[in-house]
Amino acid sequence: MLISEAYDTNGFYDEMFGPGTAPRPGCGRVAADLVAQPPAHLAELRARADRMFLRMGVTFNVYGDEAGAERIFPFDPIPRVIDGETWAHIEAGLVQRIRALNAFLADVYGGGEILKDGIVPRDLIVGSPQFRHAAVGLRPPAGVFITVAGIDLVRGADGRFYVLEDNVRTPSGVSYVIENRVVMTRLLPDLMRACGVRSVENYPADLLASLREIAPAGTARPKVALLTPGPHNSAFFEHVFLSQQMGIELVEGQDLVCVDHRLFMRTVHGLERIDVLYRRIDDDFLDPVVFRPDSLLGVAGLMAAVRAGNVALANMVGTGIADDKAVFAYTPAIIRYYLGEEPILPIVETHLLRDPEVRRAVLRDLDRYVVKPTGASGGYGVVIGPKASYRELAETRERIERDPKSFIAQPVVSLSVHPTLTAGDQGRGPALEPRHVDLRPFVLFGARPRVLPGGLTRVALREGSLIVNSSQGGGSKDTWVLEARC
């Protein structure tokens, strides 16, 4: 037995062990060499990892903590393994998705064919708070709207991967993928080599290549900069990390100025032209002339420079319409429409509450659904039916009745579980227990798609919890994508 008999997955799909606790394809080595070790030894590994993260400064800012206190993202030393064959399937699905979403954005901000053809309702698009009139008629230099996507996948009880949501505005988390790997490489070098784990360290170079590929035509050596909201942002560490890894300037809005529909940064030796801006601030704050006039984070005149074709944005303004939760329901149709292919990755069943009949059915069993506001991202405003109180359900019902088009409902997904080292507090020693996980792979698109082999595996460290967000007791694991067997 590689895992204790007390390990009970409660009927959820386990990522590492199949029926009869036989390791799944690719997992044998990790199960035998790592999972079978005494939990106390694993706890030592975790402690070593924590020290490394702290020393490396891999931390996230805790809002409202002025004393400079930073926390490390909880890390679980048991890696999540994905065999080469499974990964090939996921990768093809991700590439298909980003292609289709890019075509969709070029269309809805261009000719609007998909709306004319009635595949996606027009009012769903132009009525969405994510629709940006400033992007209408824009033709990004290389036709690319989404350069960086983080696509959240979950594995259901049937063992299939489903798309839970797309993140195509300013997705974050990739720095943890890379730093988790740095730590694991020091922690378990032999095991990694024996397993044949694919490297993730090329991501910053791939990102830079993709950003250069979307530069305005005719720029010989495109100058790329990363725009951050500043040190108070919770993802500031990642902004610093990526800019350093790519060797590009990390700029704030106050460093930028637009002159003659061109974007410049203020250097000690005068203005220096920027061709591609990898912006990590939301649309609304990007240009006070066009969006929120009170924003100090962006730069006035940026959209005019974009429109003049003198600067490329990654991601382009208005991509939020493609990860709108209501549009999500149409993504299989969008894939079929633009690519003439069947979706490789299915999506989690999604109900649009604007439809009266659907709404009636969902409201009848509201406690069995997850309700999400269509426009929000990052888990804001999500109500999980089975965990909600009677009062919360009543309030949610009322909000839906008042504004049905702003909500969608999804069945509660039985997220897969993974052997995870528990804290070992309250008198109990550390032990391996099943905890729910998801996966956020990262896809890049410049002249061609590039997929990071792996992604951020987030794990809900609390027993029974389905919430993997770091703000609510979530942690992460290294994700090992194995070389395809030849």
């Binding site: 400064g57 004393a67 400079g68 500043g230 040190p231 610093v240 350093q244 300037e249 990390l250 700029v251 704030e252 106050q254 460093d255 940064m265 203020r266 250097t267 000690v268 030796h269 005068g270 220096e272």
Partner: protein, 315 residues
């Protein structure tokens, strides 16, 4: 290099130098008082004169005694020039560029800042004036060592150097000026024991007493002190030394320009460099030391303005 980054580096270094300088002044002044005959009426007032804060002090405090002056000078959160506020400012500037400075430097600055937050006049009671300021001076040495040992000599380092040296130059000339024209108002005391003690203190505050003795021997003479602190090309706190380094830093900054102008513009340091490399103590004392020092200070201010306009200003 972004102007914002250069600006933060410049001010961070400048505020650190200012904080260190003030710690040195207190340290030295305290010793001076111990050694002085007990007749001076307001023994702590000169400290305020040296930093030009007599008026600001008088607005908030009634009497210039040890406690009130040290409080104002060191801890006062309402005095923008107090050591504590200088440390705040240095750390605030560094905070915006944590990713550009070494983690060692950030850690040291942040620790210093966090400690300064807990300071109150009571710490003087515990550690004693001497203990407190000696320790503080050591911490600034540590910061300087970390800067020296961990920062790459890139453009950012040059801007830190410029900020530090401009501050240092202003401080040393101010110190000389105040000593020469203010501390000993009665002409008959010149050359007397108090005068000499004060000159020794001036040297000590610039860590120059030992250097002085090595070069000139035990006897302290005004013109030699002035020579060492203004014109010596080898002593690291002399005005001449600072300006030489300033010239080097500004020249390297200019060389980083990716599109250099056809005709290289003259450095803003030219006039000051000439004043300090061709002048000598006996002439300036025979002429008018005060005017000379003022001219040096004016030059420093104008160099600061030029550096700001050329490299740091957000137009």
């Amino acid at each position: 290099m972004l102007r914002r980054i250069a600006n933060h580096l410049f001010w961070s270094a400048r505020y650190l130098e200012r904080a260190e300088w003030r710690a040195r002044l207190v340290d030295v002044h305290y010793h001076l008082l111990i050694e002085s005959p007990p007749h001076a009426t307001e023994p702590w007032a000169p400290l305020l004169a040296i930093t030009g804060e007599s008026e600001a002090f008088a607005r908030c405090y009634r009497e210039a005694d040890e406690r009130s002056v040290l409080d104002f000078f060191t801890f006062d959160a309402d005095n923008p020039s107090s050591i504590r506020r200088c440390i705040d400012a240095a750390r605030d500037n560094a905070r915006a560029l944590r990713h550009r400075i070494s983690s060692e430097l950030w850690l040291e600055l942040n620790t210093l800042y966090l400690d300064a937050q807990t300071w109150s006049p009571a710490v003087l009671g515990e550690a004693g004036v001497f203990g407190f300021f000696a320790e503080l001076k050591d911490r600034f040495y540590r910061v300087a060592g970390i800067v020296d040992g961990t920062l790459p000599r890139d453009l950012g380092y040059e801007f830190m150097t410029v900020g530090k040296l401009l501050e240092r130059n202003e401080n040393v000339t101010r110190l000389l000026d105040v000593k020469y024209h203010y501390l000993l108002p009665r002409a008959e005391d010149v050359g007397g024991p108090i005068d000499l003690l004060q000159w020794a203190a001036v040297l000590r505050s610039a860590s120059a007493l030992e250097a002085y003795r090595r070069v000139y021997g035990n006897a302290i003479a005004v013109d030699r002190v002035v020579e060492l602190l203004l014109f010596d090309p080898t002593f690291p706190r002399s005005a001449r030394f600072c300006v030489d380094r300033l010239v080097g830093a500004l020249r390297r900054i200019g060389m980083h320009n990716p599109t250099p102008p056809a005709a290289v513009p003259p450095l803003p340091t030219e006039e000051l460099a000439t004043m300090l490399s061709t002048g000598g103590a006996s002439e300036v004392i025979a002429g008018a030391l005060h005017e000379f020092l003022l001219a040096v200070q004016d030059q420093c201010a104008s160099i600061g303005t030029t550096v700001f306009d050329d490299y740091l200003r957000f137009e």
